[in-house]
Subunit: 498 residues, 2 copies
Amino acid sequence: MSPSSTQISRALSTFKPADPLTIHDINPNTVTAKYAVRGKIPIIADGLQDLIKSQPQSHGLPFNKIINANIGNPQQLDQRPLTWYRQVLSILQYPGILETNVDYPKDVVERAKTILESIGSLGAYSHSQGAAYFRKSIADFIERRDGYPSNPHNLFLTSGASTAVSYLIQILSADPNSGFLIPIPQYPLYTATIALNNAKPIGYYLDESNHWSTNPEEIRELIKKNQDEGINIKALVVINPGNPTGSILSPQDMIEIIDIAAEYGLVLIADEVYQENIFKGKFISFKRVLCELLEMEPETYQHVQLASLHSTSKGVSGECGQRGGYMELVGFNTEVRDIVFKLASINLCSVVSGQALMELMINPPKAGDESYELYKAETKAIHNDLEKRADLLYHAFLEMENIECNKPMGAMYLFPSLTFDEEKYHKLYSRAKNSDLGIDDIYCVELLENTGICCIPGNGFGQKPGTYHLRTTFLPPGQEWIDRWTKFHKQFIEKYKD
Amino acid sequence: MSPSSTQISRALSTFKPADPLTIHDINPNTVTAKYAVRGKIPIIADGLQDLIKSQPQSHGLPFNKIINANIGNPQQLDQRPLTWYRQVLSILQYPGILETNVDYPKDVVERAKTILESIGSLGAYSHSQGAAYFRKSIADFIERRDGYPSNPHNLFLTSGASTAVSYLIQILSADPNSGFLIPIPQYPLYTATIALNNAKPIGYYLDESNHWSTNPEEIRELIKKNQDEGINIKALVVINPGNPTGSILSPQDMIEIIDIAAEYGLVLIADEVYQENIFKGKFISFKRVLCELLEMEPETYQHVQLASLHSTSKGVSGECGQRGGYMELVGFNTEVRDIVFKLASINLCSVVSGQALMELMINPPKAGDESYELYKAETKAIHNDLEKRADLLYHAFLEMENIECNKPMGAMYLFPSLTFDEEKYHKLYSRAKNSDLGIDDIYCVELLENTGICCIPGNGFGQKPGTYHLRTTFLPPGQEWIDRWTKFHKQFIEKYKD
């Protein structure tokens, strides 16, 4: 199979070759950026997984598979994709299927035809912001959700929500004194992207003792302190429902946050990708609260700059690998909005099948449509399943000594606190001191090595000094992995108790 | 449909709201970056398209549709996707299709099953570099193509080739004195990304009089001159087959370029996305030439750092909207490679359907497979069609007065030169001077306004001072658009001739 030689012939080279680049020759921001969700512990887990695969009989580990609780990736576990999404997408990929005997519901065929008529082919680049048809449909969804209009001109289809975060932080990082207020704990995409852009993360603590709520006084103090130090704060990031906390902000908290954005001219980055993952009550968007405030006091709120992010990766969709998402901009200066457009143009467009999926997610079958009953049943089952899994794990944590955990309200994670007492667990703390590891690092590594369960130490998300947490998804199915965790936890206590 | 109010009630705010951010408050690199392919002229074209759509009877334009020759987007024009790709992808999207009466070829079903067994679901995040199965298959392809092995550990699946360019330039931009050698003319993704990273583009001219070949002497001189000025040159970009030039480098040119990379320790970024778009002969990759040199003189070439890029957007695939691509790294320091891995991790993964498409593209049906004949017929027809279209447009340019054009050898573009004489076309040049536009700008705007044909002025790609070009794809079908262009060209000459 080997191609014939190119028959190059030449005199021997006469130059002295140079050494390759080292880590000291490259962009230091790319070296220092950290991303724990796919960091050290998941990399160890990947290695163990490879070992199990290559030596299934003789790997010598006390488990036979890795449980990836480190990342919200439902379909890697056992969540099945929704039939409605996938049937429409299969037609979009191969419209010729309609000329075969395939027996699809009428609304599936109709939606696929409508999309194909407006976009042509999934294989063509779309408009840089995403196809006009999808943006119009998303604007309609936002209006239904909030009761206030949305302008398709200010919607950007993105690859998950990550691209949106990347655009915003890149644009707002004017210089090394540009600051970003981020919650602690946070999703480490924010600290990673801020580091890549050589800007300054300013962590504000969420109040663990009060369901991880925000404390507006503390945020205002941080703003003043940083402004005094010459930091030019550009944006305030809020993740609601919370990652990694699983909490939900009250409307009152949201108003206080909008007030801060209005007073200091900060871009409010509202990461709302878990908006469908709410166990009780209905999701309230920042856009909606802002619009209500605007009706009351237009002068005060007219210049609030809000970027709201959504994604197909979460919700009951869980279509992480399809890379669909959108960002809505509100109140941005046109010139600044045009810079976002330019960045989107440089990337040409987000994947068009992901754009279509975003539309299918926010514009699902309606009562009376042929797909409706199945869609309803599947989404309800997933929703119930997620709540049940959250509850199982939460109750297991409640039973564990030296673990405290807030009741999960939404999202896909729990962020329990490890409350080992320093005197009683002297061996644990001295091991930590000697190895330069945190209590959370030691716990997560031993959990992985003993059970195959991969979760992430709290320090990857940020936590108050002297506290130790871990983030775990509650997505893995069944009770068995939880029992294994409980058993490990007891052994861990035995091992380190004085 | 409107949701009930959140019933927020509050005392009137007491703070003074701040102004929103302006273009002066944001990252100046994002403001200065330019991307002509979706820049000023395509934006005018979008506006005209909207006008035609909203007022089909009364738009008042001398044409009824825009011909998007500004971007290599075959499926936006009339190119149909390959049946083989799309049938497999339709199963990957909805495996349940196999339980219906759909009548797919056996090899389509088998490939889809093999992929699903190894990746699980398209909806799960894959490994950050792309699913192991796809990387192994791509490594096998590279070995078949070049006759030398490839390591899946050094393969990164990307969103088209753009993500790969973005990772590389971001990592190599250590400070504002980091320099990147890029061909002039170039694909403006390079200048845009260099600008976003506040690094320095160093243009080396391709030799238009010699089929846009490279001039190693000039590159060496540029390196010395820039090093003397304190510029730390990090990489040398080569686009082969050429965009926008449509030319192909000789093996001798490729050796000279590798020598330069070896001597100066530069990362060689080989943009090889048009490797299937070659009208005569076979594609020779930089990897292959490097491996042959390594066999001859291992000491000299062992540290050459090569990044080779490929994409599903080009070739006969033309699946731009599916955002598939890969990058192979060779000779990189492990620590530097791990930084690329970290950036890929921060982005979670490239779209998994695009990863699958990349695999289908480089591992197509073989003789004897049920899909083979159709696949062969479809690819051959597209290939022939592209060559025919290139030839038609090329010959039309040959006939036009004041246009010179190199014979197209590959890729999807022609980059003809506008050779209007300054004395004879005094009116044209003085119009240019008065409006601060180039001859190429005026030509492209008038072409668009008179014919609906959208192509890009050469200044968006770079050209020698005092020369004027335009880049056009040769993808639009038929003769009619070419005739319209020819007619316009004659009128343009009449209008501006003294």
